[in-house]
Structure formats: structure tokens, C-alpha cells
């Protein structure tokens, strides 16, 4: 995973609550056995006027011109501004894969669904929880100004607005560390291999039926 660095990016407003992971990436694209290539099908059912198929070249498909990501002013957006409970539903990690493949680096919302929230951090995508009033204000500002961009500074835990004012946000210290350093957390966990083995030895004594039943 690449290190997460401070960046400034165009904000795309997706004014909708309870955006589920089926909407982020529909099921037919989950048949892929790769982690990449999902970007063209991000929000497929909102973005195009026809039904998408896996492996299809999307460049000739009819676009829904009303959808936010199809509007010229939001091209190249790296920050998605949205409403509460973003990423609910299916645990598919294809959702953050599609968002990052498209080019998003951060999502701002009043709340996120648990599994999606967790999946983001595994893929260098920063979900930021902000107060609903702040989100409301950001929606108003983004819609009012063409090319509206925000700076995301994870190290300082600040969103910096075009006028220089700052919005502080919380992030779990372990997850922040992993994002900033681009760490593979499997490698980190394996540093505790001895503790895992010790736990297993103890558990095998207490609950032997949990071991070797399936083979």
C-alpha cells in the first residue's frame, strides 16, 4: 500500500444517504478475480443509462449527464462528499477498490457503515467522519463554487478549506499510523507470531474440539 500523504483535491458531492455497496459497485463486477480495474464501473447504475456488463469497454456507453461524476466541474475529483451511513450493506471490498481505482483518496460523511469503514483503511482510502452540520455547509460550498477543492492533512488530522480555515477530525491512531506509513498489517501481526502460538497452545488445552476437526 502506498503511503497516504497530504493532498489537495476536487470535491464531488453525492447528496444521498445510505449509499450501499451494491450501488458503489454492482454484483456483476464482483466476478473478477483481481483487485484492480473496477473504476470504470464505480456507481455503474447511477453513472450510465444502460446495464453494465463485466469486461465491457465503458467508453462508448450512454452517460447519465445528471450524475455528479459525469459533470465537467467534478472531473478528476479525489474527495467524495456524501451523507450518513455511507457504504452500508455487503462487505465487498470491491467497493473501496472501485473508489480508489476511480481516483478517490478520501470520503467525507457524517457516518459510515462499519465493514466498509474498516475496508477503506486497508486500501489507502481515508474515510473522515464529520458533524452533520459541517457536512451540510460543505455541500453548500461545493455546489456554490466551481473547482471547489479541499486539502486533507492526515498527519495533523485537519481538512483545510479554500479560505484557509481548518476542520479537525478524529482517526484511530493505529489506522492513521498504517495509512501514513503504507504498512501491510499482516506483516505487523506476524511480528506477534509467538503470542499467537502461545494463545493456541492454551486454547487447545481448554477447548480441544476447536482444533483438527476439519481436514
Amino acid at each position: 500500500m502506498d503511503k497516504f500523504t497530504r493532498f489537495t483535491g476536487i470535491v464531488a458531492p453525492l447528496d444521498r444517504a445510505n449509499v450501499d455497496t451494491d450501488l458503489i459497485i454492482p454484483k456483476q463486477f464482483l466476478k473478477s478475480i483481481k483487485r484492480t480495474g473496477f473504476g470504470p464501473n464505480l456507481f455503474d447504475e447511477l453513472r450510465y443509462l444502460d446495464e453494465g456488463q463485466p469486461g465491457q469497454d465503458c467508453s462508448g456507453r450512454p452517460l447519465n449527464s445528471e450524475f455528479v461524476l459525469n459533470q465537467p466541474r467534478y472531473q478528476g475529483a479525489q474527495i467524495l462528499l456524501t451523507r450518513r451511513n455511507f457504504g452500508c450493506g455487503s462487505s465487498r471490498e470491491h467497493a473501496p477498490w472501485a473508489l480508489t481505482d476511480y481516483g478517490f483518496k478520501s470520503i467525507l460523511a457524517p457516518s459510515f457503515a462499519d465493514i466498509f469503514f474498516n475496508n477503506c483503511f486497508k486500501n489507502g482510502l481515508l474515510p473522515v467522519v464529520l458533524d452533520e452540520k459541517i457536512i451540510d455547509n460543505l455541500f453548500a460550498e461545493v455546489k456554490a463554487a466551481d473547482g471547489y477543492a479541499l486539502t486533507v492533512d492526515l498527519d495533523r488530522q485537519r481538512i483545510i478549506k479554500p479560505d484557509g480555515s481548518e476542520i479537525a477530525f478524529d482517526v484511530d491512531s493505529f489506522r492513521k499510523h498504517c495509512l501514513l506509513e503504507g504498512l501491510d498489517d499482516i506483516g505487523l501481526t506476524l511480528q506477534d507470531a509467538d503470542a499467537i502460538k502461545a494463545y493456541e497452545a492454551k486454547r487447545r488445552q481448554q477447548a480441544p474440539w476447536l482444533f483438527d476437526a476439519i481436514h
Binding site: D22, C88, E93, I196
Partner: protein, 474 residues
Amino acid sequence: MTGKTLYDKLWDDHVVKQRDDGTALIYIDRQLLHEVTSPQAFEGLRLAGRKPWRIDANIATPDHNVPTTERSGPIADEVSRIQVQTLDDNCDEFGILEFKMQDSRQGIVHVMGPEQGATLPGMTIVCGDSHTATHGAFGALAHGIGTSEVEHVLATQCLIQKKMKNMLIQVNGELGPGVTAKDVVLAIIARIGTAGGTGYAIEFGGPVMESLSMEGRMTVCNMAIEAGARAGMVAVDDKTIDYFRGRPFAPRGEQWAQAVAYWRTLRSDPDARFDAVVELDGAEIKPQVSWGTSPEMVVAIDEPLPDPAAEADPVKAEGMRRAYEYMGLQPGITMGSVVPDRVFIGSCTNSRIEDLRAAAAVARGRKVSPNVKQAMVVPGSGLVKRQAEQEGLDQVFLAAGFEWREPGCSMCLAMNADRLGEGEHCASTSNRNFEGRQGYGGRTHLVSPAMAVAAAVAGRFVDVRDLDPLAQEV
């Protein structure tokens, strides 16, 4: 010292290491694998030159992509075929037990796990599927994870986690006739909302939960995620223990006695503290139907659909307006005026033998209405299918005009060929009514198996309790 909740106990028993930053390394006893969310995890292992930490902690079966029609030949859809083949190849390469498509034990992972005794009380259970909460019905800590975590568990047998908060949902009283576990969980989601359980592990308790069979408890826990909670669970009792007697991977002999003694401790202490408590009266729950595009958009069958203009929260009201437009419905009507084009009985929520018995009891001696294009029953596993056939349920369904299919996830998410056409309404026993979930432009109405059959035979959504029993030719 206050007592512990069931979740506290399960958590404490699996802490490998508590870290200073508030996270903990949690040991995972069982991982269930299927074809959709595992290929990239296996590929990750290979690229890093890693091996699975513990082969015997894993069990696999393909379910999302498999056809539910005759399946002696290869899968017709090439992309699906490659994905299922990839699971087969990965399991063969790493030595992981898999029930392949032609195996009679193949089925939806969340049906197969308990059925085999691969799910047991007191376990931590994960799967790259959000409906893993199902297994919490057995007093286990079970939740869905993403593919990176599937790889993490394969490589380390652990997850890095932060403890969730405790919520108790207490369902008091008793259910009326014709009201089922599915109606209970839909009523719960309608009450607390799709984000009501976010950040919590939910324990479902109270007399109604105690009265439910293990299968009913699985239905309730299955949809914890639709209430926002990754994990739902129910305390262990005699029903839980009886369920596992003689299951293939359940302990035997001396280990059985030892296990049972431990399992009996898996309930919240009387003085346990919950961060949130929600109470419902079971007697007030009527058969439920979802009308919108979120599982919280649910009404009782006789209730008029809600008016967005009366909704104080503007974000919610906007969601309702969007849902009405997508569903082609209007506020103020009742679901009795809606015609289901298709009826689907199946999914990890409602495809177990008890669900099929409940559905067959309504279907017996009745016929699918001619205005319903298709009504299908998809058993949760090959073993459920066989059991149903031994009981003659397949003949009941076929005589009524239902299709009797092979096991899999099927039209719950339409990854295989089973799907809705654009604009079609479906009475579905599945768990999600999201836009496009059951097919591009499809319109899902979540109901219990009995209510799905009632809709099929009446040709519109009706209260199963209002069907004329005399019209049933027995």
C-alpha cells in the same frame, strides 16, 4: 464488579494480545470461504510467499455464482465459471476442505457452516460476507470482513480489532400466529434504522428469542447487518446444544461433554451492563413487508405507506422520495395493491428446512396466481434440498406451480442467471431491497417465507393470516 455480556465473554476468550492503542489481536477459530471474496486473498498470500496459518480452521463452498438449474455440466457464464474454478484451485493448492458444486453438502456458506457443525458455540467466525452474523445465533462471535481481512486471517489466524459496544434487543411477550422470525427482525430494523446498530454487537434476547428455533434465531441474527451491526448473537440454551448433537464436525465423546459445559456459560450475566437497550413487544409485531430501497423502509402488511412530507428529517424524507420513484409506488397506499411479478424463496436469511416447511404449509393445495410470472424455491444447501424432498415438500411446491431449484445464493443478489427484469416487483425472502440488488431496475419486497407464498398464490401482497383455509385443497 459488574457481570459480563455474552459479547464480553466471547471477546475476552479470544484476545491474543491487547495493544496500547486500544486495539487487540483477536484469534479467529473458523473462517468460511466462498468464491467471490477469496480469490484476491489467496493471490495476496501467494505474492507474499505466505502459507495459511492453520488449514483446519477453514472450510469453503461456492455459493454466489452457482447456477440453480441442472448443473452436471460446467457453468455457462464464463466469468462465473472462472471464479468458481479459482476457488476450487485455491482450496486444492492449499489443502482447504471445500464442498464443490456437485457435492451434496454444497450450499450457502451460512447454511452449510451450522449444518456441518463447522460453526459451534463460543467460536469466533469470519467470512468475506456481511451475513456472517447468522452464526451468532449459536452463541458465537461472527461477522463479515473484507478481502484484505480474509487474507489476514488466512495468514495469521487473527484480526486486529477494536471492541464494539454492547446492545441488547429484548423481544418480550410472544408472537401471534403467522408471525415469524423474519417479521421480528424486519420490525427491529424498522424501529432502530439501518444504522441503529452501527458500532455495536447486538445480543437478541427475551422470551420471543428463547421461543424461536435455531433456524429462526439464525434468520434474526442474519439481518443484524441490515440494522448496521456487524455481529448479532443469541445466548446458548438447550436448543443450541441439541442442534449440534451428531453434526459431522461437532465434538464427540468426552470432548462433547467438555464442550457442553463450556457452551452453557455462553450467556450474559444477570448483572451485565449494555450500552444500549431496545425493547419490543412480540405481540404487537404483524407480518412485515418492505416497500422501499432500504431495509428500514418496512410496514406491517395492513399499514399505509408513509408520507415523506410527514418526515421531519430532510435527509430521510429525500431518501423516501427517491425510493418511491424507484419502486413506482405512492405514499398512502397499502401493499395489498402491489402485484409481485416474481416470488423468490431462498437466501441465507430464509432457505433452511424450517423456512421451506413454513412456505410449503401455505403452498399446499394452492396455486401460484396466473399474474405471477415466476415463483421459485431455492434451498440453502444440498442437504436441505434432500431433507425437503424426503418430506415431500418439493412435490407441494411443484404442484402449486413453484420451481424447485438447486442450492445457492441465487436471486438474493442475482450474480447467477436468476434475476428480476427492469421494473419487476418481487416478493422475496432475502435480506436486501437495495436498488438493482436482485437485477437491474428490479424492485424487491422483503417478506417471510409464509408471506412470500401468500403473495404468490393471491397474486398480490396479502396478510398470510387472511388466506382462506377452506380454499386449500388438502
